[in-house]
């Protein structure tokens, strides 16, 4: 079990320009950071090419303007287009596709909810039967296959929690106890128990105590969309990336935007062509390539990597690269209480319940999910949209209500399934270009009616919980078709059949022997709304197998 202390390993190795390395890993986020560390500690040379800059933990700040209105470390919102169906014209700006460009990627900015998938997530198709018109499928692996790697992720990265009634079997306890409960958690628990439900502490990739030389959470309140200035959030930036660099075999090359994976005339990949911060082009040769760019950028890169051998995009003989995109359902209800909760302090969620996790045919639709007690309390965002919909939006009464509601409001959010649909996809926009002059991401996405039904179901439960907890007023965010997507899943799905999937169960592409993919795109189903834990468990498992293949000369 990798529980060695993190040693600051910088300055790390810098490879000579043009030198061939064993592996190029594209992307340094939730999966890429782990992949780099696994391959480097196994003895291989690794260059990680990361689109964004390197920002160290102590440079993060609580700046809502930079974070929400200037997209400083996010993808450029102008760099993609959106349409509901293939029949529509794709236009920029109609949906917010949110991911992060910096060393550590989304693992730096995520809320840090760290839910394992369960047995059912891997075998839902055979358990439930076909869901007509969808691509719901079993995974080629089971929960049991992945369990050791979930444990490894929790112990190596640092996760706080305690198992609850519905948790899947685990081989080891959580390494750290849960974070202290907030007022929202106390109220959620009160309301849920009154309804006969089973709330439990939220598992979080945030340290409740010092761990591996890192500081514990200081409860600053800025987790979602912000980097942790204390290094208490278990991002790859502060956990595995320093370990990878400490090997002396891994270079994290920031500000390196890969535009093409190159192939030779035998159909093997030879390395990556990328643009540096000054948009100068370079080629990094490698014996093998691992894509960990996320569920939007990975298929885009494959589709941009056309050649005479791969005219429809690299590793796309199946034609399913970019298809079966899943976002996860999100619904939200708010409640205001008599006395201050002060939700602006500490982590985003401290209580969750999984009573509605499994799909239940009696509901009349496919779907499952979880509910958690949430803060929505950054002051500027709350002022813009935190009050009930029928409240005034400016003037004296608005001001009075803002003063009353800011410290007394909490949310209960529903996190739920997205059915994999072949028609929901990432493709290349034929006209619009991004800031680098490369084809913009084109998103085609329409929620399945069952996904919307599940969101409404959970929202009804959320309101019941808030009312049972004693809220004096509740209100709902409208359940509607997706307008924001932070989970980008399923677009290079894993499977045994090369005609219907992109990677095999060890993340090797069916078409190219020395090309691997491991990130949100590998997921066959999207779970119930918190995919990072599973993406990271997959990365540990894939890293171990890829290293073993390389050692045996089978790449």
């Amino acid at each position: 079990m990798g529980t060695e202390a993190v040693r600051p390993g910088r300055p790390a190795i810098r490879f000579r320009p043009g030198a061939t390395v064993d592996f190029v890993v594209v992307g340094s986020g939730a999966a890429g950071g782990i992949m780099a560390k696994e391959l480097a500690t196994a003895g291989f040379t690794v260059v990680v090419l990361e689109q964004g800059p390197r920002v160290e933990a102590e440079q993060f700040e609580h700046d809502e303007i930079k974070t929400f209105f200037q997209s400083a470390l996010q993808n450029n919102p102008a760099g993609f287009t959106f349409r509901r169906t293939e029949a529509d014209a794709a236009r920029p700006g109609r949906i917010q596709l949110l991911y992060h460009r910096l060393v550590g990627g989304g693992s730096v900015m995520f809320t840090a909810n760290y839910w394992r998938f369960r047995e059912i997530d891997f075998a839902e198709r055979s358990r439930l039967g076909e869901v007509a018109g969808t691509g719901l499928a079993d995974w080629p692996i089971t929960y049991r296959d992945l369990e050791p790697y979930y444990t490894r992720a929790e112990w190596e990265l640092g996760v706080s929690g305690v198992p609850g009634l519905f948790d899947p079997p685990r081989s080891r306890r959580y390494p750290l106890p849960p974070l202290p409960v907030k007022s929202s958690g106390v109220l959620f628990e009160r309301g849920a128990r009154a309804l006969g439900l089973h709330p439990q502490p939220s598992p979080l990739a945030i340290l409740s105590r010092p761990y591996h030389g890192r500081r514990a959470c200081q409860h600053c309140g800025y987790c979602l969309a912000f980097g942790c200035e204390f290094g208490a959030k278990s991002s790859t930036l502060v956990t595995v990336i320093p370990l990878a660099e400490a090997t002396g075999r891994c270079e994290i090359r920031a500000d390196s935007y890969v535009r093409k994976i190159e192939v030779d005339d035998r159909g093997r990949v030879t390395g990556a062509t990328y643009l540096d911060a000054d948009k100068r082009e370079h080629f990094q040769p490698a014996r093998a390539v691992v894509l960990c760019c996320n569920g939007a950028e990975t298929p885009r890169l494959l589709l941009m990597s056309t050649s005479s051998l791969f005219p429809n995009g690299l590793a796309n003989s199946s034609g399913v690269v970019g298809k079966y995109l899943m976002f996860n359902g999100l619904s939200s209800a708010s409640g205001v209480f008599e006395r201050p909760l002060n939700e602006f302090k500490s982590v985003m969620a401290t209580r969750v319940l999984y009573d509605f996790y499994d799909s239940d045919p009696r509901r009349g639709f496919y779907g499952g999910g979880a509910l958690d007690a949430r803060a929505f309390v950054y002051p500027t965002l709350f002022a813009l949209g935190g009050l009930p919909h029928d409240a005034p939006s400016w003037g004296a009464e608005y001001k009075r209500m803002l003063r009353e509601y800011y410290t007394r409001t909490m949310n209960v959010d529903g996190h739920s399934t997205s059915l994999p649909l072949e028609t929901n996809s990432i493709s290349l926009d034929p006209e619009v270009k991004d800031a680098w002059g490369l084809p913009a991401l084109r998103v085609t996405y329409r929620d399945h009616p069952d996904d919307l039904a599940m969101m409404r179901f959970l929202q009804d439960k959320a309101v019941e919980i808030l009312e049972a907890a004693g809220a004096r007023q509740t209100w709902r965010q409208p359940v509607q078709e997706a307008t924001l997507a932070a989970h980008l899943l399923g677009t290079c799905r894993m499977g045994n059949d090369p005609r219907t999937s992109v990677v095999d169960q060890y993340h090797r592409t069916h078409d190219v022997r020395n090309l691997f993919i491991c990130d949100g795109s590998s997921l066959v189903t999207g779970g119930r709304g918190q995919p990072t834990c599973t993406i990271q468990a997959l990365a540990y498992r894939a890293g171990e197998h890829i290293a073993a293949l390389a050692r045996r000369g089978e790449i």
Binding site: E64, P180, V181, Q218, L384
Partner: protein, 196 residues
């Protein structure tokens, strides 16, 4: 950007919920003291130097912001120097918003002239007429832009030019400390047996 894409609500009717004064977030005496301090600062002899606005534009923007978050017995947009935030933003990171912003402001002053010929600019209208005009315009892109800019200026980091003296934060009971310890709120304090 100064758009209200993140503002999730439509502009609807006033909620009738009555609330006791005990609910107010910050210590009223402290806020009243800061109100007096802000008033003294505004009466200081040196006029502010604007980075982008003319003095007339600044006066209009300040007057609109003061209707969006008015000053009553506690500070509002005026005391939090929202106009400085808007001016600084349009001079720096929000440059692309200059043209629509100034066009919108000119449009508003055009309406002032149409409704009440000869009264001058928005800032010179009596407060009830300012309110009447803005109520009629609250669905316009310019008003939405002003609302967005006012609220961002009121509640964002003071280094951007607004939220002077952290008045916006103090008004709603937010405190920008980086380190907290439980209990965080009344209900977890109660549950831990430490409070009340």
């Amino acid at each position: 950007m100064f758009d209200d894409a993140l503002s999730r609500r439509a502009f609807l009717t006033v909620s009738g919920a009555a609330v006791a004064s005990a609910w107010l977030a910050a210590d009223p005496d402290e806020l009243r003291a800061s109100l007096a301090h802000a008033a003294r600062a505004r009466e200081a002899p040196c006029a502010p130097a604007w980075e982008f606005f003319t003095a007339e534009q600044a006066a209009d923007v300040e007057a609109i912001a003061a209707q969006i978050v008015p000053t009553d017995d506690t500070p509002g947009a005026r005391e939090a120097r929202v106009v400085s935030f808007v001016d600084h933003s349009l001079a720096t990171w929000a440059v692309p918003q200059r043209e629509p912003f100034i066009q919108g402001l000119d449009g508003l002053n055009g309406d002032v002239e149409k409704r009440w010929p000869g009264t001058g600019r928005f800032a010179s209208l009596p407060p009830e007429r300012q309110l009447e005009l803005l109520r009629a315009q609250e669905q316009t892109p310019f008003f939405r832009q002003m609302r967005f800019a006012t609220l961002v200026g009121m509640f964002s980091l003071p280094s951007y030019g607004g939220n002077a003296g952290k008045l916006g934060w103090r008004l709603i009971g937010f405190e920008d400390r980086y380190v907290w310890q439980p209990p965080f709120g009344d209900y977890d304090a109660e549950a831990a047996g430490r409070g009340h």
